[in-house]
């Protein structure tokens, strides 16, 4: 390969910082007509698909959230009239009324926000440290680490709907493994793990953690592999113990992985839906924002505008981790 290229070309290619500058100079102008058509097709079709099915709906959600609409009939620009019956007052411009209603009179809204926050807290405080601990122990290369890794990762392969079904055998009031083992069977004595609205969120979070920590483990395993081994040696030479080495040397170096894990954690807790939906359709103690959006737009009573407002709340919260991730990932490239 190097026989055809100049020595300085090779040097420039190896230096990541100068390569983009070289490409820029070459530019699109050097492309033939045929090449330009290829670029157009390769970029155009996926871009169109992404805009049509992801970004257009995302913007659509934001616009619909300011309307009062049940999905029947057309949307128009006039403002909703407070005195008209709902059926005549449909598809009109509603301002921030949906948001106001969600925050003030919709009974499920604040519990859903609280449940989402609890979900996030459990992922941050339990699932992530647990996954990190698994990764650190397995990375030390103790006997059987490969097997442990496979077992702990197994739940990540199962769909969340399936996880919900499998755990019902653990949690069932009458025949479940947990109640039988702790001797709480029988009609009056049994604990209703998934039916009791004070308990079921925590029960489902055990299932979610069971799956999430395996995911976190694999991400950290990849991160630990990428850490320069000489760092560890240097720390050992300096007399640091394992605990100090990890927290003062290894953990800070894994910054990119920490960001990824943080983003995955926030996004997964906002996306949470399948488990609660399969458990009891996400009602009676298991309300989440994602469930409220879904039930308002595809349920029997369609409140498209209102459901969209809830979707925008979800969008705004999720934009925080998304921006952090994008900033972290792309800032270097912008600079070059």
């Amino acid at each position: 390969m190097s026989s055809t290229s100049h020595v300085d070309t090779a040097a420039a290619a190896q230096d990541g910082a100068t390569a983009p500058a070289r490409r820029r100079r070459r530019g699109v102008r050097r492309l033939s007509l045929r090449d330009r058509i290829v670029v157009g097709v390769l970029l155009g079709i996926p871009l169109l698909l992404d805009l049509a099915f992801v970004w257009f709906p995302a913007i659509g959600t934001a616009l619909l959230s300011f309307t009062k609409w049940n999905g029947v009939g057309s949307l128009h620009t006039q403002t909703c009239k407070p005195n008209l019956p709902s059926i005549l007052n449909n598809g009109c411009w509603y301002g921030v009324q949906n948001y106001h209603q969600a925050a003030t009179i919709y009974p499920a809204f604040w519990p859903a926000v609280r449940h989402n926050l609890i979900w996030l807290a459990v992922f941050v405080l339990i699932a992530t440290p647990l996954g990190m601990l698994f990764a650190v122990l397995i990375d030390r290369g103790i006997r059987g680490s490969r097997m442990y890794q496979s077992i702990l990762f197994l739940p990540v392969m199962l769909s969340l709907a399936l996880v919900g079904i499998i755990w019902e055998f653990m949690y069932s009031q009458n025949y479940g493994l947990i109640n039988t083992v702790i001797g709480r069977t029988g009609d009056s004595n049994a604990i209703d793990w998934l039916g009791n609205p004070h308990l079921n969120l925590w029960s489902v979070l055990v299932e979610a953690t069971w799956r999430q920590s395996g995911y976190v483990m694999v991400l950290y395993l990849a991160g630990l592999k990428a850490v320069d081994p000489t760092l560890r040696e240097a720390a050992t030479v300096d007399g640091a113990n394992a605990w100090q080495t990890f927290w003062r040397v290894i953990f800070p170096v894994m910054r990119p992985i920490n960001i990824v894990v943080m983003v995955v954690t926030v996004i997964e807790s906002l996306r949470a839906f399948d488990l609660v939906y399969i458990t009891n359709k996400g009602i009676n103690g298991l309300e989440l924002l994602s469930v409220l959006v879904t039930s308002n737009i595809v349920g029997e009573t369609q409140r498209v505008g209102f459901g969209s407002a809830l979707g925008v709340v979800l969008l705004i919260i999720s934009l925080v981790p998304i921006s952090v991730f994008l900033y972290q990932t792309f800032r270097r490239e912008e600079a070059s």
Binding site: D139, W210, T294
Partner: protein
């Protein structure tokens, strides 16, 4: 760093056992902790499997948590025949296989153009694709659902005549939604291809298409394999798109059809357990056979930095 994860066999496997000396009690404590964790992690799956291999009469008489009196595989065959699982599996295949192929084809094209051709706004476009994949699905479902009810399709593609409730519609959304992740991973991967290879190809007079198809794609084979594994399980495991964008149960893929089976078999939990185990088989097979690719794929997306 991204290529490193791929080229090193067994990304997460210990490369040098005992390379760091730990105190004996530390070793023992780690072993005990991991053994306990592994038992807890296997327990739910093992118990569901145990329920699945016990006859209904046994569990009825002695309870689900009891010693085995008889073991049988009859639940599996009964769940298979009574619930028409073959049909749902076929739906999953019809959705997953085309979706994975189309995502990989489209994403590699985008990634190539964004990393190797100096188009305007290439970083902005990369951000657009990447961010799209990070949105919660519920953020886009409302207009998407209306859109799917509006777009008509010819009847040979969709017997409903709409995007809604068609296999084609599910392929489209899975492709659009997963594009972002694949573009992100593949563009990182393609950046690691040395510039001099392209210079050499240019000197040889290779067209843009040749540089993409004959040079870049073969070099990206490991990344494509890793992504294919990930995508297969993700799309197979999809639940949300299938229950919101499909009205009739008989067109749904197997994962979401299970929710209906729960209702159908409600009096016979052994059958539900068997059906759940059957539905888990494809992803478990993928995992066992392609574990390396699977984990490499996750690391590819993660260790960028």
């Amino acid at each position: 760093m991204t290529t490193e994860a791929l080229t090193r066999p067994g990304t997460a496997a210990p490369s040098a056992p005992g390379r760091r000396r730990t105190r004996p009690w530390g070793q023992v404590a780690s072993q005990v902790f991991l053994i306990v964790a592994s038992v807890l992690w296997l327990l739910p799956i093992a118990f569901a499997l145990y329920v699945a291999v016990r006859p209904y009469s046994d569990t009825r008489k002695y309870g689900y948590v009891s010693l085995p009196h008889h073991l049988t595989l009859k639940n599996f065959s009964e769940a298979w025949t009574q619930s028409d699982m073959l049909h749902f599996f076929w739906n999953s295949v019809l959705i997953t296989v085309p979706a994975v192929i189309i995502v990989l084809a489209l994403a590699s094209g985008v990634a190539f153009v964004l990393t190797r051709v100096d188009v305007k706004f290439n970083i902005a476009l990369l951000i657009l694709f990447t961010a799209g994949n990070l949105l919660p699905q519920q953020v886009i479902i409302t207009p998407l659902y209306r859109l799917y009810l509006k777009i008509t399709l010819p009847h040979f593609v969709s017997d409903s005549g709409l995007m809604y409730n068609s296999i084609f519609g599910l392929i489209a959304i899975n492709v659009a939604f997963q594009l972002g992740f694949c573009v992100f991973v593949l563009s990182n991967y393609m950046k690691s291809v040395p510039e001099e290879m392209y210079e050499a190809a240019l000197v040889d007079g290779a067209s843009l298409w040749t540089r993409f198809w004959r040079l870049t794609i073969p070099l990206c084979r490991p990344a494509l394999a890793a992504l294919a594994t990930l995508l297969t399980t993700w799309i197979y495991n999809d639940f949300f798109w299938a229950i919101t964008l499909m009205s009739s149960g008989d067109k749904r893929p197997v994962t979401s059809a299970l929710a209906n089976l729960q209702g159908q078999f409600v009096s016979n939990q052994n059958l539900i357990a068997a059906a759940a185990m059957i539905a888990a088989v494809p992803t478990l097979v993928v995992y066992i056979l392609l574990q390396k690719q699977f984990i490499a794929g996750l690391s590819l997306g993660a260790t960028k930095g």
